[in-house]
């Protein structure tokens, strides 16, 4: 091993409770057999696959992250060239089905071949690249592959039978939303199958990270998905801090936790309004929209950024919170709690709305477990995973939020989970503000003499947001990768839709509210 990974002790003993975050540990593997064996082992102990990525030469490796209740395991498989000169690694798709899209992405971007992966179709490559773009050194020009023949059609899985037809939707939609294509196989109004085609928002984030300084990297991380800027910034900060063996002060941890809750609040409020609006209740959108806008304005007033961009940075935070601001935020929390409860009552009592929500878009707990779904969607399908509860990480262990859980897995459950989380989030925010320790903005962190790696994981408003960095000496990012929870949640949407009416798809989609940008890195 030519780069130093953080120390590992065998058998999961590395998952020692940490103060500054969820326990997370690196597991190097030199050969495919132990890698597969370890993955199967993790699966059998209830591990959830979060994502898989790669790093290019000089350290061709595959990183797969699996979350256990105790913490995050990162399996690192070093690759060697085979006889044909290709980098081949064993596919995890038989153990963790969600690995398929990640492995296809790695094949498109790096050219590493997953042995045993059945799906041979490209994923992020929309037939634009002549060679895998990350397989060459940064700055190499990649010619476009498009010939006069045009691009080949993407082979969607088709359903055949009398009366069955296809509806293609997107990537350009009637509303102003992110680009994504959905291919429906329908019989009348009933959806038999839906398949997603994403990657239209691909912007080469892994490539963009290469060679940047830590602070530039932080700016980029904040812009991966605009609605979860705090989550991505925070995950990145954690990763860098782990790589540099640095523990931020309590004040910084409090402030970060508070900002993360604020992000959760404004997104959940926005989502609840949008879900109501998609069921035709415009009243919901204007009410929740107002609450969200008030939060955004308060953000602008106290933090200087409506969507909290660039506030969390490696080593610290970018803002100072005075006593008047704390008092103002506390009053806001009290008022918000009251208004949200009132709106929840309206949602619960609205027969038409409940008729649309209930039994629509059911993601059964069994499927959710098998796919390893977490976040809001997972919790609505009885998956009791929340990084904020159940870990001894500061400051959550002081005021642990209750786990918002529902069991029906339908749109109504996802709405209920969001309402519960808003309340818990408000309680947590209040507790954080009331016990706010000394204001520390930033501390200097050490410069690494060697190549080091770090990983961070955060419960963003959608679910687990992961960041991994490898720093070369002097704090230059050699490689980095971010995982938005959307990447594992998109396949779950495909599972929740069949059997529903075409007209109910937008509602189901909205109740998931996944990020295209966060997926198409």
């Amino acid at each position: 091993m030519d780069s130093s990974l953080p120390p590992v002790s065998p058998g999961g003993l590395c998952l020692i409770p940490l103060e500054e975050g969820i326990p997370r540990c690196f597991f190097p593997h030199e050969n495919s057999a132990t890698y597969l064996e370890h993955a199967a082992d993790l699966k059998s102990t209830g591990g959830r696959f979060l994502g898989l990525w790669a790093s290019a030469s000089p350290f061709p490796r595959i990183y797969s992250s699996v979350l256990l209740k105790e913490g995050l395991i990162l399996m690192v498989l070093s690759l060697g060239k085979d006889a044909a000169g290709d980098f081949v690694y064993p596919s995890l798709s038989r153990i963790f089905p969600s690995a398929s899209r990640f492995e296809r992405t790695v094949r498109d971007l790096f050219g590493f071949i997953p042995a045993g992966l059945e799906d041979q179709r490209p994923w992020v490559d929309h037939a634009h690249w002549s060679i895998p773009p990350l397989s060459v050194p940064p700055g190499t020009r990649i010619s476009s592959q498009t010939s006069s023949m045009g691009r080949p059609d993407y082979p969607f899985v088709r359903v055949k039978g009398p009366g069955i037809h296809e509806i293609p939707v997107g990537p350009v939609h009637a509303g102003i939303i992110e680009p994504g294509h959905f291919r429906f196989q329908v019989l009348g109004e009933k959806i038999l199958r839906v398949e997603e085609r994403l990657g239209y928002a691909h912007k080469g984030v892994d490539g963009l990270f290469r060679g940047r300084t830590i602070m530039e990297g932080a700016k980029l991380a904040a812009r991966i998905s605009g609605d979860s800027t705090v989550a991505h910034s925070l995950a990145f900060a954690q990763a860098v801090e782990q790589a540099l063996d640095f523990i931020p002060a309590a004040g910084v941890r409090f402030m970060r936790a508070f900002l993360l809750e604020r992000e959760r609040l404004m997104n959940h409020l926005g989502d609840l309004g949008a879900i109501g609006n998609d069921a035709g209740l415009a009243f919901a959108l204007s009410q929740f929209g107002r609450l969200k806008e008030e939060l955004l304005r308060k953000n602008h007033l106290h933090f200087g950024s409506r969507y909290l961009f660039d506030l969390v940075r490696p080593g610290g935070i970018a803002i100072f919170l005075g006593d008047p601001a704390i008092r103002d935020l506390l009053t806001e929390i009290a008022r918000l709690l009251e208004e949200v409860l009132e709106l929840q009552r309206i949602y619960d009592d609205h027969g038409g709305l409940q008729d649309r929500f209930q039994n629509t878009g059911i993601l059964s707990p069994e499927i959710a477990t098998r796919m390893g779904i977490g976040g809001v969607v997972g919790r609505a399908s009885a998956q009791a995973w929340d990084l904020r509860s159940g870990h001894r990480c500061d400051p959550y262990h002081r005021f642990p939020p209750a786990l918002a859980l529902a069991h029906t897995g339908d749109v109504a459950a996802r709405v209920r989970v969001r309402f519960l989380e808003i309340q818990e989030s408000l309680f947590l925010s209040r507790a954080l503000l009331e016990h706010f320790p000394e204001n520390v903005i930033k501390e200097e962190f050490p410069i690494n003499p060697d190549i080091t790696e770090g990983i961070g994981i955060i419960e963003g408003f959608r679910g687990e947001t992961v960041s991994w960095v490898r720093l070369s000496p002097g704090g230059i990012i050699q490689a980095a990768h971010h995982l938005d929870p959307s990447a594992i949640l998109w396949p779950a949407l495909e599972m929740a839709v069949p059997g529903n009416l075409v007209a109910d798809f937008p509602l189901i989609n909205k109740s998931f509210n996944l990020s295209y940008s966060g997926n198409d890195l």
Binding site: L281, G352, A503, P506
Partner: protein, 321 residues
């Protein structure tokens, strides 16, 4: 009546005024509904004239025709707008005896509205896009389910005059001495449901949605652009206006000028504006309160309308004869 007859000339003039009034007031009515909806959901309204600005914007734009469309696609907006304008000549606005009244009774009127729906479905399917097909299919389903109820309502109302002529119906309703008509109460309830379904309003269809997969009316006109879209939009305003007008004529005819004297006409205008505004407000309230129905609940909705209309029809024989 002779063409040279001064009465004829007055009636002719009033009819022409009625027609233009209908065409011009229709967007205003939509603007009023939009304003009410905005106020009810705590938003700042764009104003009652917003539909005019939207239409103006559309008419200034160029037409972009989708590939592979035939002349049908281009002809449909003209057909739809034309038929609805002609229908306006049959429906009493101020003049309860429109000159063209004898040409068409309520059944013909419903036929004309069906023709409009059919033309729109053709236009939508001509573009060959899945959304057009989807919208057309759903629109035909809603129309087909609502039509029996519509006819039943019209028959209930016709029982009063023994005629399906709009003018006769209104005249006999105006001259009736009974303060309330129980049969008409039920017919009115049914009419409200049919009105919502036929005009693509909530809870059947959401005219404000941008979600292409849930649309009915909007999906049908998704491929239209520029002035053609403008005509389709204007037709939608006009259709809404005409449906409200029929409702007012049948269920709240009080104040319609029995003869064309200036004071009666002026009073009639003010009353009509008041009734339209009240109806628009009521519609906005309904739309704010209800979520959109799951599409397969539409049959239940229209069945309820049919049931109410039938009850009205029976009650006429039980209570009113």
């Amino acid at each position: 009546m002779d063409v040279g007859d001064p009465l004829f000339r007055t009636e002719f003039a009033v009819d022409v005024v009625d027609l233009f009034l209908a065409i011009l007031t229709a967007p205003l009515l939509s603007g009023w509904i939009g304003t009410c909806r905005a106020v009810l959901s705590n938003r700042t309204p764009a104003g009652v004239f917003q539909p005019f600005w939207d239409l103006l914007r559309l008419f200034r734009k160029e037409v972009i025709l989708p590939e592979h469309t035939s002349f049908l696609f281009r002809a449909v907006p003209f057909g739809v707008f034309g038929i609805l304008s002609v229908s306006a000549l049959f429906i009493p606005l101020l003049n309860i005896r429109p000159l063209l009244g004898p040409v068409a009774d309520v059944v013909v009127l419903i036929g004309l509205f069906s023709l409009v729906r059919m033309l729109m479905a053709f236009g939508a399917m001509d573009a060959g896009t899945p959304f057009g097909d989807l919208g057309a299919r759903r629109e035909m389903m809603v129309g087909f389910l609502a039509e029996p109820a519509t006819l039943m309502i019209l028959f209930t109302v016709s029982l009063w005059s023994g005629s399906t002529s709009l003018s006769r119906i209104i005249q006999s309703l105006l001259s009736s001495s009974d303060p309330v008509h129980p049969s008409l109460m039920f017919a009115l309830m049914a009419y409200i449901l049919v009105f919502l379904a036929e005009n693509g309003r909530l809870p059947i269809d959401n005219p404000a949605t941008h979600l292409e997969l849930t649309m009915i009316h909007e999906a049908m006109i998704l491929e239209y652009s520029g002035p053609l879209l403008g005509m389709m939009e204007w037709s939608a305003h006009l259709k809404l206006f005409l449906y409200l007008l029929i409702g007012i004529d049948f269920f709240f005819p009080a104040g319609l000028p029995a003869e064309l004297s200036p004071p009666a006409v002026i009073l009639g205008i003010f009353l009509l504006i008041g009734k339209l505004m009240a109806a628009g407000t009521a519609l906005a309230i309904v739309e704010i309160l209800f979520a959109k129905l799951r599409i397969f609940r539409v049959p239940e909705f229209t069945a309820l309308a049919y049931l109410l209309a039938s009850i009205g029809f029976l009650i006429h024989f039980v209570l009113e004869v």
